[in-house]
Symmetry: C4
Subunit: 247 residues, 4 copies
């Protein structure tokens, strides 16, 4: 019994062994398949047969994830701790909606399907990029939060200002400050859909000043994230210098 537990542990917790790598790849393939199946289900024109096969795939995926979850509980040194850990909760949430949906009325099934997306967080465990990304965010957390705050202030001022310039000329488009906030978001990120834009001379001059001062502010958190990311990589390389070969 104990040796079986050891064997399972080596497979699901150790990505370096051959069996462990195969196990990781299988789980990842199932997550990706699950992610790809989701958009296809939203298409109204797919045939009944394809819909049935997607349903079979869904049942199979949940079955594998359930076995994986139970095995992880079994091999955990401290079972309660695993169940309430971040990955334990994610693993449970990834399968729970399926079982809950079995016991309830079919009509409310659609809302539950959305929870299936939580499954993608399982991906985090297997993905080095996500891990490094997370580390970068942790490194620059304080700063990114502070400058996101400044960016929010900038958005707020822009929204109030454009409201005073454009509300009278375009009472529909700039009906209230929330519409102006939408304008501010779309403009300062330079997306510029074209659904809402200033037409008065005052509003255009204001937009000019908002863009001149705002573009710099809005792009700062992005810059902070980029430099935090290179710091995270440096730290990673220091910890495991053998991992990276020089090309």
């Amino acid at each position: 019994m104990e040796s079986a537990r050891r064997l399972v542990e080596r497979i699901i917790d150790n990505g370096d062994s051959r069996a462990g790598r195969a196990f990781d790849l299988t789980i990842q393939a199932l997550i990706v398949g699950s992610l790809l199946a989701f958009p296809i289900e939203t298409m109204p024109q797919i045939s009944e047969e394809l819909r049935r096969w997607l349903r079979y795939f869904e049942v199979f995926t949940v079955a594998v994830f359930t076995v994986e979850y139970l095995l992880r509980i079994w091999v955990a040194p401290n079972r309660l701790r695993f169940i309430f850990s971040f990955f334990g909760v994610i693993d449970l949430l990834a399968i729970l909606p399926f079982y809950l949906a079995l016991g309830v009325d079919a009509r409310s099934l659609r809302a539950f399907r959305l929870f299936r997306l939580i499954r993608t967080f399982k991906f985090v465990r297997y993905n080095q990029a996500v891990r490094r990304f997370w580390r970068a965010i942790t490194l620059a957390r304080e700063e990114i939060v502070l400058f996101l705050g400044v960016a929010m202030l900038m958005l707020y001022f822009s929204a109030i200002g454009i409201y005073y310039f454009e509300h009278e000329a375009q009472p529909e488009a700039f009906a209230n400050v929330f519409d102006s906030l939408w304008w501010a978001v779309v403009t300062l990120t330079t997306v510029g859909y074209g659904d809402i834009y200033p037409i008065t001379v005052g509003g255009r001059i204001f937009t000019f000043f908002v863009l001149v001062t705002g573009l710099g502010i809005v792009s700062i958190p992005t810059g902070l994230l980029a430099s935090a990311l290179s710091k995270a990589r440096e730290l990673e390389e220091k910890e495991s210098p053998a991992d990276r070969e020089e090309p």
Copy 2:
């Protein structure tokens, strides 16, 4: 009396003590609340009751800010100097519109409401990000101004050029150079609303060259600000190295 003054001073000027931190957080919460109340007031569909409660909140906020302002004058080592300092003026401007609006005709009240936004500058005092941001701007002031100048020249040339290419084909959209300037701003910041764009072959080729040369120029002040910001952080860390823990 003197000890009371000391006590007040310790609370409103010293964010490190427990009472001081609580005081700071209260003032900040009131500023944020005041900022959030403003957009809600612009919505025409809100009920009379909600409008009344927003008004009560406004009176309460101004009352607290008035008391804060008077206390700051009281504890200031040099009272006149505080009154005419940057923060002294901001603190006064944040409450003055409310009192002025009391004595005047209700119709002109709307314009005064705009001045309430000055209150947000009180935020600056409490916000580390704004302070660091200000420092970065001071560090790179000379350069940012110089390159904003180059960017302005670029906008100007683009506007004149597109006017000559598009004025005849689109006499409404490109009616004069000011309309072209609006086009230049929207294009070189890559916002691109789609309300005004070239349709002639010459105008499109010109736009191509403007974008090729202009995107680099327009993004330089942003880059200068970003590098000034990292300099400002380094200076801050040198001054108070104990503030930042290594993760």
Copy 3:
């Protein structure tokens, strides 16, 4: 015979000699000419005579490229190895469509013309920028792939989310998750054509959060490429320090 081969080798493989440089420039000019002829052929309004001249130019270009290909095989130390090398295959693919098109029905000729574009890859051989660019991509390959993965996940989540917010309000524009994916691509790259955008309050707030978190993520691969490029330049300078003069 052997001396003739040596001479040819010195010309086509050695860009430093005078004849070699002239040969390189000729081939490059023909590639550029071929590239420029292509768009002109797509214009329906060009005269029959111009079309005939473009055809003559095409025949001439392919003839030169064929001679070049045969000479390269002739002078190669290991002929089979050259034929199956990257540049060998590109050189063959650049001329093959023309000969295949001679033997087939004129109607399917149009599809073959697209393959002519492969010819531009011949350009890679002669272009230092492309070579350095390739090196930069090789240097940062692993990282760029990882963060492109994160960006893909971000696009996926945005598409699923906006589908749930906007599908009911705009059943035409957001008909299925694939339409939402198009919206996510256009929005997160800040292109913002304006053909598809959220109109519900929930969808707009979601867009705000998507932009705040997504802009940073999408721009990371670009940043990685830029820093890899400066690394590639440093390596190049170390290898041939005499090539670059200090201004």
Copy 4:
């Protein structure tokens, strides 16, 4: 006579002396005034009187620039060399159109007015930012040219590709490869006016791949310019370290 020449030389060539600085500022103010007068003239609704005053200002400006030009020839150590130098030619071109317009038919006057813009290049002499900018471009000239080449190739491929995907579905919008090129420019710079965009599934997937690979390429010349600029500043600081005070 010689001492008068020395005096004039000190004023117009030496921006460090008091009189020299005043002279520089006057010329710069006239250039700025001349630039501002230009867009106002394009407005059809301005009064005849304002138009007359703008004309008087124009005559005055040209008179001052003419005197400046003659004085510069007078004090130049080598007069012919000055006349054919970059700034000599610019100074002449800035006044020449005015004199040529005097002798010709009033109808062709409008075209000459465009040449007045050359006057802005006089600005270059007085503007430190423009000088540093120029230096940065000189430093990174070779690289910027190379990567602009790669960006051009990218635009070209995108245009050809989208033409094949969208030509049949939108024969008007994507009529030929030149329209596709316009689409490629507007999309890869992320301007996205919304006047032309793909609607087929193939075209949208192609756009996705173009954006994923192209955004990085298009932004590289900008990044190169930014880093060249910081190099130029370092060189400047080395040459005149006393100019910059530490804040």
